[in-house]
C-alpha cells in the first residue's frame, strides 16, 4: 500500500460541523416541545415547514453555485436556521410568512454573502426582522397558551392548525385564539403601572407561566450545548447579565414604570436569543472577551428597545446591531498571546 504524505497533525477529533449543528438541533428540542405543549401544533408545523423549505432552497442555491450539494447539506446549517426561525415566529403565522422568511434567510442573508461561514448577520434574525417590519399583523398575532386558558388541546387540533397555517381557516377564526404576549401587554399598557397591568389582565397573569416554562426549556438546551462545548458561556452570560443588571437598575428606581428583571429574562424570547441566536458563531464575535462585549451589547439593546422603542421584543434587532460590531470586537479583544506582555489591539496600519 502506498504511503501517503500529509502534514501534521495526524490525529483528529471525531466530529464535524454537521455534528455541531445536529447537537444544536437536539438542544432546541426541549424548547420546541414546550412551545408545542403550550401554544399548540403551530410551532412544530412552522419548524417542519421551514426546514423543508430551507433544505430545498439551500440545495437549489448550492446547485446554482456549482458546489457539491450533498456535501454542503451535510452541515445542517439550513435546518438550524429554519428551526430557529420557526421557534421565533407566531405559531399560527401563515405559510407564506415562513416562506418569505426562509427565502430571505437562506437566499439573501446567507448565500448572497457567500454561504456557510461568510454571513455577517444571523440569517434567521435577518428574516425575522424583515417579517416583523413587513407583516406586523401576522407577526404579532400570538396564540394564547391553550392549556392555561382552559380550552385545551381540543380547540385547535393538528388538522385545524394545519388549516389555519395553510389558509383553509379564516384569520378571524384564529383571532379568537390569539392574545397579546406579555411583552405586548407591557408595551401597550397605556397609562397603567406595571402592577395595574397584571391586575387588569387576568388572562395574561395566568398565562405568563407558559412563557416561563418555555424559557426554562431553552435554558436547558443552552446548558446542554455549553456542556457539549458547542459554545462558551461568554455570550449568554454577558447578555443575560447585562439585561438583568440594567432592568434591575430601572426596576429599583421606578418599579411602576419598569417591569422586574425576571419578567425581562423570561417573558419574551430572551432565553431563545441568549442560547440559540446570539451564540451563532458565524455572526458573533469570536474571542472570549469579544463575546462578552457582544453579549452585553445585545442585553443592553434588548432593554433599550423594549423599554423605549416601538417594538415589544427586540432580540432580532439587538442581535443584528451587534452583528455589525462583531468584527470590531474581534480586532480589539485579541487575547494576550503566550509570551507577550499585553494583547494587540486593532489592526496594524489601520
Amino acid at each position: 500500500m502506498a504511503l501517503i504524505r500529509i502534514t501534521s497533525p495526524h490525529a483528529h477529533k471525531p466530529g464535524s460541523t454537521g455534528n455541531v449543528m445536529l447537537t444544536v438541533l437536539m438542544a432546541t428540542l426541549p424548547g420546541l416541545a414546550a412551545m408545542t405543549f403550550f401554544f399548540g401544533w403551530g410551532t412544530l408545523i412552522q419548524v417542519i415547514w421551514g426546514s423543508l423549505l430551507a433544505v430545498g432552497l439551500e440545495a437549489l442555491i448550492i446547485r446554482l453555485r456549482n458546489r457539491p450539494v450533498r456535501f454542503y447539506l451535510q452541515d445542517y446549517s439550513a435546518v438550524v436556521t429554519a428551526v430557529l426561525l420557526g421557534l421565533a415566529l407566531p405559531p399560527f403565522a401563515p405559510w407564506w410568512v415562513m416562506t418569505v422568511g426562509i427565502l430571505v434567510a437562506i437566499g439573501v442573508a446567507k448565500h448572497m454573502y457567500g454561504g456557510m461561514g461568510s454571513n455577517p448577520f444571523n440569517p434567521a434574525m435577518v428574516a425575522y426582522a424583515l417579517l416583523l417590519v413587513s407583516f406586523p399583523v401576522q407577526m404579532t398575532s400570538w396564540t394564547a397558551p391553550f392549556v392555561l386558558t382552559g380550552e385545551g388541546w381540543a380547540v385547535l387540533g393538528l388538522a385545524d392548525t394545519f388549516g389555519a397555517i395553510f389558509g383553509n381557516i379564516s384569520p378571524t377564526m384564529i383571532d379568537a385564539y390569539t392574545m397579546a404576549t406579555p411583552l405586548d401587554a407591557m408595551k401597550h399598557r397605556g397609562g397603567f403601572t406595571t402592577e395595574e397591568m397584571w391586575i387588569q389582565s387576568q388572562m395574561l397573569s395566568e398565562g405568563i407561566g407558559a412563557w416561563h416554562a418555555v424559557s426554562a426549556a431553552y435554558v436547558m438546551g443552552g446548558v446542554f450545548l455549553m456542556y457539549k462545548k458547542i459554545f462558551t458561556w461568554h455570550t449568554p452570560v454577558a447578555m443575560l447579565g447585562a439585561l438583568a443588571v440594567i432592568s434591575t437598575l430601572f426596576f429599583l428606581i421606578m418599579p411602576d414604570q419598569y417591569p422586574d428583571p425576571f419578567f425581562h429574562l423570561t417573558a419574551g424570547a430572551t432565553m431563545l436569543g441568549a442560547f440559540f441566536i446570539a451564540t451563532d458563531p458565524v455572526s458573533s464575535a469570536t474571542s472570549n472577551k469579544g463575546k462578552l462585549w457582544f453579549g452585553a451589547g445585545i442585553g443592553l439593546l434588548i432593554f433599550i428597545i423594549r423599554s423605549w422603542g416601538n417594538y415589544p421584543d427586540a432580540i432580532a434587532f439587538a442581535v443584528l446591531l451587534m452583528n455589525l460590531c462583531a468584527p470590531f470586537f474581534d480586532q480589539y479583544t485579541q487575547p494576550r498571546t503566550y509570551g507577550h506582555s499585553k494583547a494587540n489591539r486593532g489592526l496594524k496600519g489601520e
Binding site: 456557510m116 459554545f231 509570551g339
Partner: protein, 1070 residues
C-alpha cells in the same frame, strides 16, 4: 525532597487519545544490527557536519565520521563498525521530503567498538573542557528539535540559570520512549541531571512528568529522592501539549518565555530526559550518541515496543524486526501524531531526534475529510496553547493578509496542531499557518533583498552623478583648451588664407576678381533699379538721385563686364584651383549644413506650432536652392580643375595616396569597431555603421580625386610642360550672393523674431537664438568673402581703386544732390529739412570714408612672393582635426552612455590624433621646403601698414552698418533710400574688412622677409599647445598609475615650447 511544587496551567490544550499502552507492554530491547547504516550529516539544528572519513574507510562503532562545523552543529559517529561505501544524497526524515547528504556504512556485523573511555571524575575537569567533551559526543536535543546540547550547556556563562527543567512530559500520543527510559534507566537520568547541574549550577531542578506515567514516576522517585540535588518531580496533568518547552515552563514555574526570547533569558534551561541519559553515557562511558530509544507503534507495526536503535538504521529494518503488517500500513509517521511528519517510504534512517515511528492503518489514521467552511465556532481558540485566535489567523492566511496575520502573532504559533485537531470543519489550520509563515519569511527576504538593491542602486546613482560632474569638469577644462587650440588654429587659418594673397600678388589681372566685380556691379545695378522702381511707384523723393545712381551703376557694370571679358580673352595666369575647389566645397557643405539646420528649425517650429513656419519654409526653400547652386558650382569647379591640378601634380597625388591609405585604415578600423559593437550588441552600433558608411564615402571621394589627379597629371605630362592651363578665378561673387542671401535671411529672421516678441510668442527666445546663429553665419561668410577678396584684391588693385573712385564720385554726386535738396527744403521751410541735413551729413561721412578707403587701397597694393601651396595640406589637417573632434565627441558620448565600444573608440581617437600629427608634420615639412623657395622671390614691402587704423576702419564700418540697419528696423515704412544706403555700407564694410585682411597678409609677408614664417610660427605654436593639451590629457588619464613622472616631464617640455613659440608669435602680431 519531594516538596510540593505548585503546578500552574497554560491556556487551551487538548486530550487526544493517548495510545501509549500498546508500546509499553514489553521492555526496551535492542534492535538488530542492520546491514546498512545511513547517517544523515544533518541530524540536528544548525550546520551539517563535515565528513572526516573517506569512502572505502573502515570505521568502528563510536568512531567520529563527520565533524561539527561552527558553533551550532554536532558531531556524527558511526553507530556500528563497517565500511563507508558512499556519501551521497539519501532520503531523510524531513518535512520537505527532500533528500540530503548521508554517509552510508556497510555494516560488518562485528559491531566493534572504537577505543573509548569515560571520565573518571568529571567534576575535576574545567567546565569548558567538560562541555567540549560533551560536544565531541555529538549530543543534540533528543526531544524533537535536535538543538546541539553543548550550546545549551554554555548558557550558564552569560545567563543566570536558576531553574533546570527536565522535560519528561512526553505529551504526544503513542510515544513511550521516555516513559520506558525512565522506568528502566532512572539512575542514568539522575547521573545526567547531576552533570548538567554541575555545569549550570541551577538553584532548582524540576522534572516535569505527566500523570499518565505512574510507573515512570515511581522509578524516578526511587532514583532521585536520594539525590543531594534540589530536585522536584512535578506531576502535571495529562494534556497536550504540556511537553512543549514553553508550556512546560508555564506549568512548572508560571513564567512565560517572552515572545522571541529563549528560556535562558528568564533563567530557565530545559533538557529532555533522553538527552540527560545521553550525556550520562557520554561522560561516564565515553560513548558518543550513536543510538536512541525509538517507539515502534501503530496498528500496523506488529509487535509494538520500544527499541534501542542504532542511529542510521532504516525504518524498513525496524519494521521488519517488529514484523509489521505491511498490507495494513497506510501512514508512516515519524514522531508523534500531532507534530510528527509522514514519510512515503521505509528507506529512511533513524536520526538523533527520531523518538517514535507510527505505522498507522487507514482505520487508525484515516484520511482527512474535505474541509468545510469555517463557522468561526472558536473551538480552535479554546484549545490554542499560545492563546492565539486561530480562526482569525486562518482567515488572514487564506486571504493572504499576511501583515494582519503577523499582527495577530502568527509567529508565536508553535504548530502543535491542537486547533486542527478540534476543528469541526476539518480545516488543516496548521498547514495554513505554515504557508503564511513561509510567505512572510519569503516577503521579508525579498524586502531585505530589495532594500539591499535599493541601497546599491542609490550608491550607484551617487557615483554616476559624481562621475558625471567630474566628467563635466574635465570636459570644461578640455573645452577651454580646445578653445585655445581653436583660436590658434584660426590664427593659422587666417595666415593661411592670407598666404595665397601673398602668392597671388603677381600683378596679373585676376579673372575671378573681374568676374566678381562684374557680378557686384550687376547686383548693385539691380538693387538700385529695384529701389528706383519702388520709389517711382510710391512717388518718393530722390528719384532723380536714384536714377543717376542707376545710370552710374549701369556704366560701372558695363565697365566691369567689359574688363572681365577682356581679361578672359587675355591669356590667363596660372592659378591655384585647389583653393577654389576647397572653397566651393566648403560653400557647398556650409549650404548643406545651413539647409539642414533650417529644416530642423522648421520642423521644431511646426511641432511647436509657431507662426513663423511660413517664413522658415521660405528660408528652407531658399537654402535648398542655394545648396543646390553651391553644389553645382563646386562640381563645375571640380571638373574644371581636373586639368589645372597638374600645376602641382607630384605633391598632390602622393598626398592623395597617403590620404587614401590613411582613410582606408580608418575605414578598416571603423568597420572592426562596428563589428565589435554589433557583436556586443552595443546600442552605438547603428551610429557606428553610419560612421563607417561616411568614411567609406570619403574614401571613395579621395579615390576619385586621386584618379582625377592622376589623369590630369598624365594629361599634363603628355602636353607641353610649359603650358599652364587656365584656372577659374575664385568666385567671390558667389560668396557675396551667399552673404546677401544670408543677410536677407538674417533680416527675415529678425523680423520674424520681432513679430514673435510683439505677439509674445513662446518661440521668441528660440528665434533670437536662430537670429544670432544666422548672424554668426553671415559673419563667417563675410569673413570668407573678405579672405577671398583679400586673396584676389592685390591682383587687380587698379580696378579696385577705380571702383572706389567711381563710388566716391557717385557719392559726391549724391552729396551734392542731397545738399541741393536740403537747401531747397530749407528755403521752402520744409519740416524735412532737419532730417535732410542729417542725411547730408551722413552722406558726407560716407564720402569721407570712401575717400579714406581709396587711399588705403592704393597704399595696400603690394606684390607678394608666390609660394608652394601648402593650403591643401592645411585643409587636410583641418579635416583630420574635425574628424578627431568628432571622434572625441562620439567617444565621450559612448563613455557617458557606458557603451562597451568606448575603449575601442578611444583607441580610434588616438589613432586619428596620430594621423593628424603626421599630417601636421608633413605640413610643417612642406612649409619648410616652401620657405627657402619663397625667400628669394619675396620683395620688400613698400611701407609698414597701420593695422590698427585698418581694424578701426572695419569696426567703424560695422558700427555704421548696424546703426543703419537698426534705423531701418525702427522706421515703420520701408525707405528704399535707406535700404540702398545699407547695402552700400555693407559693401564698404566688406571692402574695409578685405583691406584689413590684405594688410595682415602683408604683415605675414613682412615677417617672411625676416626669415620667419609667421604662419608656420602660428601653426607651430598651435601644435605646441596641442601637444601640451595632449600631454595633460594623458597625464590625467594615468593619474592612478605610478609612472607619471615621465609624462609630467613631457608636459613641462611641451609647455615650455608652447610658451616660447607664443612669445615669438606675439612679437610679430602686435
Amino acid at each position: 525532597m519531594n516538596s510540593p511544587v505548585k503546578v500552574h496551567s497554560f491556556h487551551g490544550g487538548i486530550h487526544p487519545p493517548e495510545n501509549k499502552r500498546q508500546s509499553t507492554g514489553a521492555p526496551i530491547s535492542a534492535a538488530p544490527i542492520p546491514s546498512r547504516i545511513v547517517l544523515p550529516l544533518q541530524q540536528h539544528i544548525g550546520l551539517p557536519a563535515d565528513p572526516v572519513v573517506n569512502i572505502g574507510d573502515r570505521v568502528l562503532k563510536g568512531q567520529l565520521v563527520a565533524e561539527a562545523i561552527g558553533r551550532i552543529s554536532a558531531n556524527i559517529h558511526a553507530s556500528t563498525s563497517g565500511t563507508v561505501v558512499a556519501i551521497e544524497p539519501h532520503a531523510v526524515p524531513h518535512m520537505s521530503g527532500m533528500p540530503s547528504d548521508c554517509m552510508i556504512i556497510e555494516a560488518d556485523g562485528l559491531d566493534e567498538w572504537v577505543e573509548h573511555q569515560g571520565l573518571e571524575d568529571y567534576t575535576s575537569l574545567p567546565k569548558p573542557e567538560l562541555i567540549e567533551y560533551i560536544r565531541q559526543s555529538g549530543i543534540a536535543g533528543m526531544g524533537g528539535a535536535g538543538f546541539p546540547t553543548d550550546v545549551k550547556l554554555h548558557l550558564g556563562d552569560d545567563h543566570i540559570v536558576n531553574t533546570l527543567i527536565i522535560n519528561a512530559a512526553e505529551c504526544e500520543p503513542y510515544i513511550t520512549a521516555d516513559d520506558m527510559l525512565m522506568r528502566e534507566r532512572a539512575d542514568q537520568i539522575l547521573g545526567g541531571i547531576e552533570i548538567i547541574a554541575h555545569l549550570l549550577k541551577p538553584l532548582h531542578i524540576m522534572v516535569g512528568i505527566e500523570d499518565n506515567k505512574p510507573q515512570a514516576i515511581r522509578a524516578l522517585h526511587e532514583a532521585l529522592d536520594d539525590s543531594s540535588l534540589n530536585i522536584d518531580i512535578v506531576i502535571i496533568p495529562t494534556k497536550y501539549p504540556s511537553g512543549g518547552e514553553k508550556q512546560l515552563i508555564k506549568l512548572l514555574t508560571g513564567v512565560e518565555v517572552p515572545s522571541g526570547k529563549i528560556p535562558a533569558d528568564v533563567g530557565i534551561v530545559c533538557q529532555n530526559i533522553g538527552t540527560t541519559t545521553a550525556i550520562y553515557r557520554a561522560v561516564k562511558y565515553g560513548e558518543p550518541l550513536i543510538s536512541r530509544i525509538v517507539t515502534i507503534t501503530g496498528d500496523a507495526a506488529g509487535h509494538q515496543q520500544n527499541l534501542e536503535v542504532r542511529l542510521g538504521t532504516l525504518f524498513k529494518d525496524l519494521l521488519d524486526h517488529t514484523e509489521a503488517e505491511r498490507d495494513q500500513l497506510y501512514r508512516l509517521v515519524v514522531g508523534g501524531p500531532m507534530m510528527g511528519i509522514t514519510v512515503d517510504n521505509e528507506e529512511i534512517p533513524v536520526i538523533k531526534t527520531t523518538n517514535c515511528l507510527i505505522a498507522g492503518t487507514s482505520i487508525e489514521m484515516p484520511p482527512q475529510p474535505p474541509a468545510q467552511a469555517c463557522i468561526r465556532c472558536g473551538m480552535c481558540e479554546q484549545v490554542c496553547p499560545a492563546e492565539l485566535l486561530p480562526q482569525q489567523l486562518y482567515w488572514f492566511a487564506k486571504g493572504r493578509e499576511f501583515d494582519k496575520a503577523s499582527h495577530h502573532n502568527l509567529f508565536d504559533c508553535i504548530e502543535c496542531g491542537a486547533c486542527s485537531y478540534v476543528c469541526p470543519s476539518n480545516i488543516p489550520l496548521v498547514q495554513y499557518y505554515r504557508f503564511a509563515k513561509g510567505e512572510i519569511r519569503k516577503e521579508q527576504e525579498e524586502q531585505r533583498k530589495a532594500d539591499h538593491a535599493r541601497l546599491r542602486f542609490e550608491a550607484r546613482q551617487d557615483r554616476l552623478e559624481r562621475e558625471k560632474i567630474e566628467k563635466e569638469e574635465r570636459r570644461k577644462a578640455r573645452a577651454e583648451e580646445a578653445a585655445k587650440a581653436q583660436a590658434a588654429r584660426k590664427d593659422a587659418a587666417l595666415t593661411k588664407a592670407a598666404a595665397p594673397a601673398a602668392e597671388k600678388a603677381s600683378g596679373v589681372p585676376d579673372l575671378k576678381q573681374l568676374k566678381s566685380n562684374a557680378a557686384i556691379a550687376r547686383t548693385k545695378l539691380k538693387k538700385a533699379e529695384k529701389a528706383l522702381t519702388n520709389a517711382q511707384e510710391k512717388g518718393l523723393d530722390g528719384i532723380d538721385a536714384l536714377q543717376a545712381t542707376v545710370e552710374q551703376l549701369q556704366q560701372k557694370c558695363d565697365a566691369a563686364q567689359k574688363a572681365y571679358d577682356d581679361a578672359q580673352k587675355a591669356p590667363a595666369a596660372p592659378a591655384k584651383p585647389a583653393l577654389d575647389i576647397k572653397q566651393l566645397k566648403t560653400n557647398a557643405a556650409v549650404a548643406r549644413t545651413k539647409l539642414k539646420k533650417a529644416e530642423k528649425q522648421l520642423l521644431a517650429a511646426e511641432e511647436s506650432g509657431s507662426d513663423d513656419v511660413d517664413s522658415l519654409k521660405a528660408q528652407v526653400a531658399e537654402l535648398q536652392q542655394k545648396s543646390a547652386t553651391a553644389e553645382a558650382a563646386f562640381k563645375a569647379a571640380e571638373s574644371g580643375t581636373t586639368a589645372p591640378t597638374a600645376a602641382a601634380p607630384a605633391i598632390d597625388t602622393t598626398e592623395l595616396e597617403a590620404d587614401i591609405k590613411a582613410m582606408q585604415a580608418k575605414v578598416d578600423k571603423a568597420e572592426a569597431a562596428w563589428k565589435a559593437a554589433v557583436e556586443s550588441e552595443s546600442p552605438a552600433a547603428d551610429k557606428m555603421a553610419a560612421g563607417v558608411d561616411k568614411l567609406k564615402g570619403k574614401l571613395k571621394d579621395l579615390q576619385d580625386e586621386l584618379a582625377k589627379a592622376q589623369a590630369s597629371r598624365s594629361q599634363a605630362s603628355n602636353s607641353q610642360s610649359g603650358s599652364t592651363p587656365a584656372a577659374p578665378a575664385v568666385d567671390t561673387s558667389e560668396l557675396k550672393a551667399d552673404i546677401q542671401a544670408m543677410q536677407g535671411k538674417v533680416e527675415k529672421a529678425e523680423a520674424a523674431w520681432k513679430k514673435a516678441v510683439e505677439s509674445e510668442s513662446p518661440a521668441a527666445s528660440k528665434m533670437a537664438e536662430g537670429v544670432e546663429k544666422l548672424k554668426g553665419k553671415l559673419k563667417n561668410l563675410q569673413d570668407e568673402l573678405a579672405k577671398a577678396q583679400a586673396s584676389s584684391a592685390p591682383a587687380a588693385p587698379a580696378i579696385d581703386t577705380s571702383e572706389l573712385e567711381a563710388d566716391i564720385q557717385a557719392m559726391q554726386g549724391k552729396v551734392e544732390k542731397a545738399e541741393a535738396a536740403w537747401k531747397k527744403a530749407v528755403e521752402s521751410e520744409s519740416p524735412a529739412a532737419a532730417k535732410m541735413a542729417e542725411g547730408v551729413e551722413k552722406l558726407k561721412g560716407k564720402l569721407k570714408d570712401l575717400q579714406d578707403e581709396l587711399a588705403e587701397a592704393k597704399a595696400s597694393v603690394a606684390p607678394a612672393a608666390p609660394a608652394i601651396d601648402t593650403s591643401e595640406l592645411e585643409a587636410d589637417v583641418q579635416v583630420i582635426q574635425g574628424k578627431v573632434e568628432k571622434a572625441e565627441a562620439a567617444w565621450k558620448k559612448a563613455v557617458e552612455s557606458e557603451s562597451p565600444a568606448a575603449d575601442k573608440m578611444a583607441a580610434g581617437v588616438e589613432k586619428l590624433k596620430g594621423k593628424l600629427k603626421e599630417l601636421q608634420d608633413e605640413l610643417a615639412q612642406a612649409k619648410g621646403a616652401n620657405q627657402p623657395a619663397a625667400e628669394p622671390t619675396s620683395e620688400p614691402t613698400p611701407e609698414p601698414l597701420d593695422m590698427k587704423a585698418l581694424k578701426q576702419q572695419v569696426s567703424i564700418m560695422r558700427t555704421k552698418l548696424k546703426k543703419a540697419e537698426k534705423q531701418r528696423a525702427e522706421s515703420d515704412n520701408t525707405d528704399p533710400a535707406l535700404d540702398a544706403e545699407i547695402e552700400q555700407l555693407k559693401q564698404r564694410h566688406d571692402e574695409a574688412k578685405a583691406a584689413l585682411d590684405a594688410a595682415e597678409a602683408e604683415l605675414i609677408a613682412a615677417a617672411a622677409k625676416e626669415g620667419i614664417d609667421l604662419k608656420q610660427l602660428k601653426i607651430d605654436a598651435a601644435l605646441a599647445r596641442a601637444e601640451v593639451t595632449k600631454a595633460e590629457r594623458a597625464l590625467s588619464k594615468v593619474e592612478d598609475a605610478s609612472d607619471t613622472s615621465e609624462l609630467e616631464a613631457a608636459l613641462v617640455a611641451a609647455k615650455t615650447q608652447a610658451d616660447q613659440l607664443s612669445a615669438t608669435l606675439e612679437r610679430f602680431t602686435e
